[in-house]
Symmetry: C2
């Protein structure tokens, strides 16, 4: 087996933690001796064992002198509230010979300190293996740890002609069952789902994660964030009444006039007044900052049109995930309204976009600006990849 295959396995293991590790990243580790895997591990859940330690403990041979493949730099710090001892110490104690990493950990407590500690103990370290894949896997973590703002993904279901609903608001169904199942998987991996008051009014969605392979505990249901508009909220909405209502968060605009739109009086639902924008609605940057302070590291924005337009025009999104169905609707509700772009050359081009098919639908996703999402990692990864041609070649030959 080749380097990239071992690291690909580590990334595969890491994904087993999807939806359970936040605000920690997903991490997988593989221990290799004489070109064979002798131990595997992953970080299963926030507060539980780290991947490196699980791989060591589950190894069926002595790990002394072995190589370890891990998608993220090992932790090297001890701070109040941190639930696990530093992985670097364990790697040194177990006499791992060489460590292959995809990327550093931009967490300011780590960010190169892990690698330095390992190297100081005489363990070889190489970074950059499957770095792009590792960046995408933990995109929310990398954004949040560097900015304290949640990673924002705009999820849209579109007709071929760019509509998200019929003129009356009816959007059932643009996507088929398989695509909607994908949306549930996405929600499961996000800390919060956000919609505007109009979407709440028209669709009255639950915004919960349906059981995938096993029932989802309340703790792993995403927050439901409602951005209130100028009008009254429909107080009988599911999100204010169902068994997960303590995970509903309403942002309203603090106003100077005497107008007080109706908001839930239910003690379980949090209602947070924020400064208002020019339209008298809550400011979305303030909403993201507040969410980040609550520890919400990722937000899946599910519409509607006005909400998408505001996130896009203010540059406050990281990614767009669009499901496009082979439907022609004609007149209807447009996905995105006025952005003040007058020429086609001024349109926003998604970066590193990827295309997948789900039955007869397209799933297209791409980033707004990889530098703003990945911060310091963007450059170090680009730089690493330039200087390690052999790995780039390996990666290509294995695609």
């Amino acid at each position: 087996m080749k380097h990239v295959e071992f690291m690909a396995r580590a990334l595969e293991l890491a994904r087993y933690g999807a939806g359970h590790t936040s605000p920690n990243p997903m991490v997988g580790a593989v221990i290799v001796k004489h070109n064979r895997i002798i131990g595997e591990g992953y970080h299963p859940r926030f507060g539980q064992k780290h991947a490196e330690v699980m791989a060591i403990e589950q190894a069926h041979e002595a790990v002394e002198g072995a190589e370890m493949y891990c998608n993220l730099e090992p932790c090297s710090h001890t701070i109040p509230g941190k639930k696990t001892p530093p992985c670097t110490e364990r790697l040194v104690r177990e006499k791992i010979r060489k460590l292959y990493l995809s990327t550093l950990d931009p967490n300011p407590y780590v960010n190169g300190n892990g690698v330095a500690a390992i190297r100081a103990a005489g363990i070889e370290v190489e970074t950059g293996l499957l770095a792009q894949e590792a960046l995408e896997l933990n995109e929310a973590y990398f954004k949040f740890i560097q900015t304290r703002l949640p990673f924002v993904n705009l999820k849209m279901a579109l007709t071929l002609d760019g509509r998200i609903a019929a003129a009356g608001g009816d959007s059932r169904w643009i996507s088929d069952e398989a695509a909607r199942e994908r949306v549930h998987r996405l929600r499961h991996e996000y800390d919060a789902v956000l919609i505007g008051a109009n979407t709440l009014r028209i669709d009255n969605p639950r915004l919960t994660v349906r059981p995938l392979d096993q029932p989802i505990p309340a703790a792993r249901q995403p927050w439901r964030i409602i951005l209130a508009g100028n009008g009254d909220l429909p107080l009988h909405s599911e999100v204010f009444r169902d068994q997960f209502r303590e995970k509903t968060l309403v942002f309203t605009a603090a106003r100077n006039d005497n107008h007080r739109p109706a908001v839930p009086g239910n003690a379980d639902v949090r209602v947070i007044p924020l400064k208002s924008n020019a339209g008298g609605r809550p400011d979305i940057l303030a909403a993201l900052k507040y969410s980040g302070e609550m520890g919400i590291s990722s937000v899946l924005v599910e519409g509607g049109s006005r909400i998408f337009t505001e996130f896009i025009s203010r540059g406050l999104f990281d990614k767009i995930t669009a499901f496009i169905a082979p439907l022609i609707l004609g007149r209807g509700i447009e996905a995105v309204g006025d952005l003040g772009i007058e020429r086609m050359s001024g349109a926003i081009r998604l970066q590193r976009s990827e295309i997948e098919t789900i039955n007869d639908q397209v799933l297209l996703r791409g980033y707004r600006n990889i530098k703003e999402t990945f911060g310091s990692l963007t450059e170090s990864v680009a730089c690493l990849q330039e200087s390690s041609k052999s790995w780039a070649e390996l990666a290509l030959s294995n695609r």
Copy 2:
């Protein structure tokens, strides 16, 4: 090699005639003996040799007792103007043992007569092999031969949010060079390209086929059809002045009032008055009928929005070919306007849609209604495929 592989080779050969055979279909033929190909042929150009005959003449062994694979039923008729003798007679004379076909030829002069003649001479015939692929290959031929109306393909370049241009009309460029190269290949395979007066005014396109591998003679440039609106046409447009202007066709509306919009007075450009629709513009069904009578068997419609909306709302298209770029524009010109559809469940779902990627763009194409496009073939193909499970299985295992 397997049956499907021989037929796949016949289809591949058939495509060598792309852009040159109209109004004839593209046909390829492969002759097989002892499971080896001993002869190959295709119909290179209207008026020239048929595929079956070329394969026989190019065979490097005696063809007696061999099998032939051909995507279309062989011709069996002699009528004034037909440039070649019946292929059926040649197959009988050469003592071909067995003939594998994809589909019958719905041309009323053939349509089962070819198969009957072959069988009467004791040659075995099986039909249905790679029938779906064969239908798509000659989609324009099958539509035109059964309805005398051209096959209509709406070609759109869209942003992810469903815009075909910025608000001022600027559409350069939504697609990249590779996608535009595909459009040139498409144009090369169509008898005509059609646009509305607005698109003529804003883009002043040439609508010609750029040299692909070799210069395209004037005879193989597509007709440029302009659907005039209520206003004056821009008389200095490229299509009225360039060296292919004798292949420009303007449809105008015959009007009762005294309003006479300016149209080209150039003797090379044909201006055809047609009955007008409610908006005072030429009726598009009349335009398609007139085109069909001229022998135009396929029309690539390139916009703009009003033209797309009219073809779609009247159900007068066969296929949509959409290039979707990962661009967000916001306000701009919508691909499709009001179709009178009020609910998402009433949206038009493209049939047998296929998705391809071109760099970071999606190419999505699908049919409006395969029964209306393929007529009698739709049912016979469906029926054949149900009754020949083994072939269906073969086809699957070879994908």
